[in-house]
């Protein structure tokens, strides 16, 4: 079966294509088809898991060349090792549960079959991500799960909040992918391959310089930060709750957000090679976990509480993995890797259960606000117990699944006091906010009578998955019981198998912390012997900060998005005025220059020609003044000329050797006077004169 493991992720793709091309209008068939394919995948996954257990972690790889050059090639391939096998089972299990659950939850939605298409596409991408045998392939599916997450968050895209949330989710995770991409480029440039096996071999042999490795590892971790909603890119996950609740359960609780953890676990060799990078990972994980836990305490939206809880738990896992990398790099043994992956598995089950339960509650009361719920226990006979089982599990109560995995995480931090204390604090907060939720939703008096009365248990196809997941929430942890010789620890490991030593002290402290958290919640929200309002008022700034999610959205809006948009607008205007201005300015200058030349041509060159004509015209105009066309004028000149001739005759006869001055004077005087006479204004003519 392992040889044909690619079928596991191709089956959902087949389902997606069938629904898109053939089953769009046949909702029932589409959903059924989709569920059948995922069930087949589930069974195959279990088979693969069993085979892997039988072979004790022997990997199988298969290749398909994607792009091939002389120097390097990109390929797709399947790698099945214990980690993959576990993840396959987790993903297909939760996927199958969610698909069955959605039959009831999405009933009557106008885009019912499309929902199943998207779910199938997601499962295809997620399984491909898990099965990938190299970083290139994981990156491809990494992006594809981002796409399906985008599509599913925005499934009810008519809601503006959903439309905003899906964009935010995609872009925020893409910021992380940026680092991932840079890390991949570093690896491919310095190692020449992206194949896990070859790459880890090179890293193990020390073929890659430490600095490069650190940068590459942090780059890869950036991808995980984006996908797993770690600080500082955690802001998208709570908003992603705008999607349908089954989607939140599948993608944003159990599988896709865990992909970041999976990626860190998968590339653990890189982190082991670089202690600095591991420390960064651990610190980021811890910060995230703490932040999210403090926020979750004060939230009132049931899904958001769960979302922050998810972020917090993911931070837990990341922290454990980071500490493992650090300790191993320092030469110590650490249960971190085992703890992280183990918690990844158990968390997937109980968090999916919590979300599905929350979905069931929402389905019943049609609100997300826990302040409007209350006393629902008798109404929701299946949902409430399963939900509380999951809450106990996440709080880490013996002997539920969460107890075993959380215990290992606490154990991983033992050698780092700060981490240890804060981890316990987070465990306390986790127990507190989960049971705050439970007490407010299921116990006490109904706060909204109207909603209470209309509440009803969900249909069977919604409650069966709950029961099944509740079973897993209880039992899944038992595979990791430390006394088991072939348990989880000796199955999924990095480097050499880790054999946990059960520490009763640790277990006791962790359990005590969890129980005290539950107890505090009991006192505050069930007994009401401690007033939550009073405490809130006492630490009002902290309360407000927590309630407003430490203002991350506002800060990002203020620091990044607004400046970016203003910068973009500035660039646009720069483009229109600056760059284009230069182009247009050049054109305008050219036009100006040609205008100048045209002016020159018109007034200087042509002006000389026209000027000659103008001179003649003006002379003519001058002469025109005496050329009136009137007999009298002509008579005048006849007279003038007669006089002049007379003078000329006289002068030429009697004044010898001199110019005929008088003639000229008379002639000129006559002409000048004639012209002047025309120019001097005459007596005004009466109006009636010129009738």
């Amino acid at each position: 079966m392992t040889e044909n493991a690619y079928l596991i992720f191709l089956l959902p793709l087949l389902s997606f294509m069938m629904i898109v091309f053939f089953l769009r209008w046949k909702e029932k068939i589409a959903a059924g088809y989709s569920i059948i394919t995922i069930l087949i995948s589930w069974m195959m996954s279990i088979w693969v898991l069993l085979e892997t257990i039988a072979r004790h972690g022997v990997a199988h790889e298969a290749f398909y060349k994607f792009v091939e050059f002389k120097s390097f090639s990109l390929e797709l391939g399947i790698l099945v090792d214990p980690l993959t096998a576990v993840m396959l089972v987790v993903v297909t299990t939760v996927g199958a549960c969610v698909e069955i659950y959605s039959l009831g939850y999405m009933h009557g939605d106008p885009r019912f079959s499309r929902f199943y298409a998207y779910l199938s596409l997601f499962l295809f991408s997620m399984l491909g991500l898990v099965l990938a045998n190299n970083f290139f392939m994981i990156f491809i599916f990494w992006e594809l799960v981002g796409l399906t997450s985008y599509l599913l968050i925005g499934f009810w895209f008519e809601k503006k909040s959903a439309a905003d949330a899906c964009k935010k989710a995609f872009i925020t995770t893409r910021v992380g992918d940026l680092g991932f991409l840079v890390g991949l480029m570093m690896l491919i440039t310095y190692a020449g391959t992206l194949n896990y096996g070859e790459l880890f071999e090179l890293v193990g042999a020390g073929a890659i310089p430490a600095t490069i490795l650190t940068i590459a590892a942090i780059g890869v971790f950036c991808g995980a930060v984006g996908k797993s909603a770690q600080f500082p890119l955690h802001v998208w996950l709570p908003d992603a709750m705008e999607g349908p609740t089954p989607v939140s359960a599948l993608i944003h609780a159990a599988t896709m957000v865990a992909a970041g953890v999976y990626l860190v676990a998968r590339s653990m060799t890189l982190f082991v090679g670089s202690a600095d990078a591991s420390m960064v990972v651990a610190i980021i994980g811890l910060t995230t976990s703490l932040l999210a836990a403090t926020i979750a305490i004060t939230q009132v939206d049931i899904k958001r509480i769960l979302a922050y809880s998810t972020v917090s738990q993911l931070g837990y896992m990341i922290m454990a993995l980071g500490l493992y990398g650090y300790d191993t790099a320092m030469g110590h043994h650490s249960p971190g890797y085992y703890a992280g992956t183990f918690h990844l598995m158990t968390h997937a089950f109980f968090k999916a259960l919590l979300f599905l339960g929350a979905g069931s509650v929402i389905h019943a009361v049609h609100t997300n606000d826990i302040r409007e719920m209350g006393g629902l226990l008798p109404k929701l006979k299946i949902t409430a117990p399963t939900f509380m089982i999951a809450s106990l599990s996440i709080a880490g109560i013996f002997p539920l699944a969460g107890f075993w995995s959380k215990d290992e995480i606490v154990a991983a931090t033992v050698h780092h006091p700060i981490f240890y204390i804060l981890t316990l604090a987070i465990a306390f907060m986790t127990a507190f906010y989960m049971w705050r939720l439970c007490f407010m939703v299921f116990f006490g008096k109904p706060r909204d009578q109207h909603r209470f009365e209309h509440a009803h248990e969900s249909p069977k196809n919604m409650s069966y998955p709950l029961i099944f997941l509740a079973f897993l929430s209880v039992c899944a942890g038992w595979v990791g019981i430390p006394w088991l010789s072939h348990g989880f620890a000796s199955f999924a490991y990095h480097g050499e198998p880790y054999h946990p030593h059960f520490s009763f002290l640790n277990a006791f402290i962790a359990s005590a912390v969890a129980l005290s958290g539950i107890g505090l919640a009991y006192l505050m929200y069930y007994k009401k012997s401690i007033s939550a309002e009073k405490i809130g008022a006492m630490i009002r700034p902290l309360y407000l900060g927590s309630y407003n999610k430490w203002y991350f959205d506002e800060i990002y809006q203020f620091i990044i998005i607004d400046p970016l948009m203003s910068f973009a607008r500035f660039m646009w205007s720069f483009d229109a005025r600056g760059v284009d201005g230069v182009v247009n300015g050049t054109a305008r200058l050219t036009m100006l220059w040609s205008d100048l030349k045209m002016w020159f041509d018109k007034w200087i060159v042509d002006g000389a020609v026209n000027g000659a004509g103008w001179l003649v015209t003006q002379l003519g105009n001058l002469l025109r003044l005496i050329q009136t066309g009137k007999a009298q004028s002509y008579a005048l000149f006849m007279g003038a000329m007669i006089v002049a001739i007379g003078f000329w005759k006289y002068e030429s006869t009697f004044v010898e050797g001199a110019w005929p001055k008088m003639t000229i004077i008379v002639a000129i005087c006559a002409i000048v006077l004639a012209i002047l006479g025309r120019l001097i204004p005459q007596e005004t003519a009466s109006p009636e004169e010129d009738k």
């Binding site: 120097s71 008519e158 439309a163 995609f170 872009i171 940026l178 440039t189 607008r569 646009w572 182009v583």
Partner: protein, 496 residues
């Protein structure tokens, strides 16, 4: 003598143009189908060329289907010389395909139908010629021939500011062409005997002095960079794209921009390796500026078509980044991939913007909202291409971007490429912002209640692009094999 395939590619559209011109003016149906009919054989032939080259020549990457050299103007040693190799064959196929699709997409043209289709076929001839010509004179002639129909196509059938856009496009490109002409003349007069054959001059280029190489390189580069368009020569592009009719935008984005990068790869880069080594880094810098700048400006756009136009600037920036990393086969192959995938994706986006513009008569992003519930198929296709444009795996854009980044990262300054990667996020930002504002959110029933979904004819124009985008995204290997030999050869020339 073999059948002159390349000449047929060039001449057939011209025959088609004459045929269209001979039809009566009002027979719109006949004109349309004649034009489409005459564009089909070149398309089929060019696609057949892909398979033929793949089967027979790809391994060696040689110049194939040579025609000539025939003496054309013997006194100047101008020859008729055509040929195609691994980088021109995909471009020819792209040209053939996009021309046919654009012709089908422009059935909505109502005014001066005959002239439109005639000009379009002339345009196709010019484009085909540019990708085939191996003689500088011939190349220059085809390069300029295209301007004429383009000018009229924008200037007559364009939007409100069509004259401005058309003149800007025309003058800007012509401005660049003058530099190219000077460079060609320099090459011509320094070679002995005087020659205009690109293949001959390929050996002559490196023998020039360094300064002269730089001059020629820069002159050619300016001419091609305007066409690409490389930042800061890009400002004609938004105007031309926005004002041009849909089909012309498609050709402009799909083929014309590629001519710049193609010409750089064909002429500029291998002919002046010394200058390339000097300037390669700065070209990559221009490319990175283009990526970030184009993405940022797209982010601020209010007009759907302008957004796509500026995204072209960003996407062609990837090509320039890859061309700056000339020593890496991966990067250059990525550049070719990016040319093809941008040709497919942006053309499709322009087609789709045209579809919505035909119905709504506005392209303002803010005017829409929630179209997803009214036009499900259109929305699906548009989201598909938006995802392709932002480089989602499984589609061609991802392959090209990844190859470019990987190649450039190995060959260039790491920080520079690191900055370029930012373009991926910005690309997602502007594309998703557009998708959100247009397709998601509440639907304005009162205003867009009678919008209809994409129709059959429009689907016909888009579906081939979907198939090719997916095919290249999922199985890029054949395309790599098709180009690899040629690229190795070119890179050998570049690293002389």
């Amino acid at each position: 003598m073999d059948f002159p395939i390349l000449s047929t590619l060039v001449l057939f559209p011209i025959v088609g143009m004459v045929a269209v011109m001979l039809l009566p003016k009002d027979a719109h149906g006949a004109i349309r189908w004649t034009a489409v009919g005459f564009s089909l054989p070149p398309m089929v032939l060019s696609i057949w060329l892909v398979f033929d080259y793949f089967a027979n020549f790809a391994a060696a990457g040689t110049m194939a289907y040579m025609e000539g050299p025939f003496e054309w103007i013997p006194s100047l040693n101008i020859q008729y010389l055509m040929g195609a190799d691994g980088i021109s064959i995909p471009m020819l196929a792209l040209t053939g395909l996009l021309t046919t699709l654009s012709l089908i997409a422009s059935f909505g043209i109502k005014v001066r139908v005959k002239e439109f289709f005639a000009f379009f076929l002339l345009l196709e001839a010019g484009m085909m010629g540019v990708f085939c010509a191996l003689d500088f004179f011939l190349f220059y002639v085809f390069w300029e021939i295209m301007l004429v129909p383009m000018y009229f196509l924008i200037g007559i059938w364009g939007g409100p500011q069509k004259e401005y856009a058309a003149i800007k496009f025309f003058l800007y490109t012509l401005f660049g062409s003058i530099f190219m002409l000077v460079a060609i003349l320099i090459m011509y007069f320094t070679s002995e005997p005087h020659s205009l054959s690109i293949l001959t001059l390929m050996d002559h280029g490196p023998t020039l002095t360094h300064t002269l190489q730089l001059v020629c390189f820069c002159f050619f580069f300016i001419a091609f960079a305007i066409k690409v368009p490389v930042w800061p020569f890009h400002t004609w592009l938004p105007d031309a794209h926005v004002q041009a009719p849909t089909a012309v935008s498609v050709i402009l984005a799909g083929v014309l921009l590629k001519m710049g990068t193609y010409a750089m790869l064909r002429i500029n880069w291998p002919m002046f390796p010394d200058a390339l080594r000097t300037l390669g880094f700065w070209i990559a810098v221009l490319g990175v500026i283009g990526i970030i700048y184009g993405a940022l400006v797209s982010l601020a756009q209010k007009d759907l078509k302008k957004l796509v136009a500026y995204s072209s600037v960003s996407h062609m920036g990837y090509c320039m980044l890859a061309l700056g990393a000339f020593s890496s086969v991966t990067a250059i192959a990525g550049c070719m991939f990016q040319m093809i995938s941008h040709g497919l994706i942006t053309s499709a986006l322009f087609l789709l913007v045209g579809v919505i513009y035909d119905r709504a008569h506005t392209r303002e992003i803010a005017a829409f909202g929630g179209l997803g519930s009214k036009l499900p198929i259109y929305t699906g296709i548009m989201v598909f291409f938006s995802m392709a444009a932002l480089g989602l795996p499984g589609m061609s854009g991802f392959v090209s971007e990844f190859m470019i980044f990987v190649g450039a990262f190995g060959a260039l300054n790491k920080v520079l490429v690191g900055i370029a990667v930012l373009g991926v996020v910005l690309g997602a930002a502007y594309m998703l912002r557009m998708v959100q504002n247009v397709f998601l959110g509440e639907f304005n029933l009162a205003r867009w209640g009678d919008l209809t979904d994409i129709n059959g004819r429009e689907l016909v124009t888009v579906i081939p692009l979907i198939i090719l985008t997916l095919f290249i995204g999922i199985y890029p290997k054949p395309l790599v094999i098709l180009m690899n030999g040629t690229l190795e050869h070119l890179i050998g020339l570049m690293s002389r």
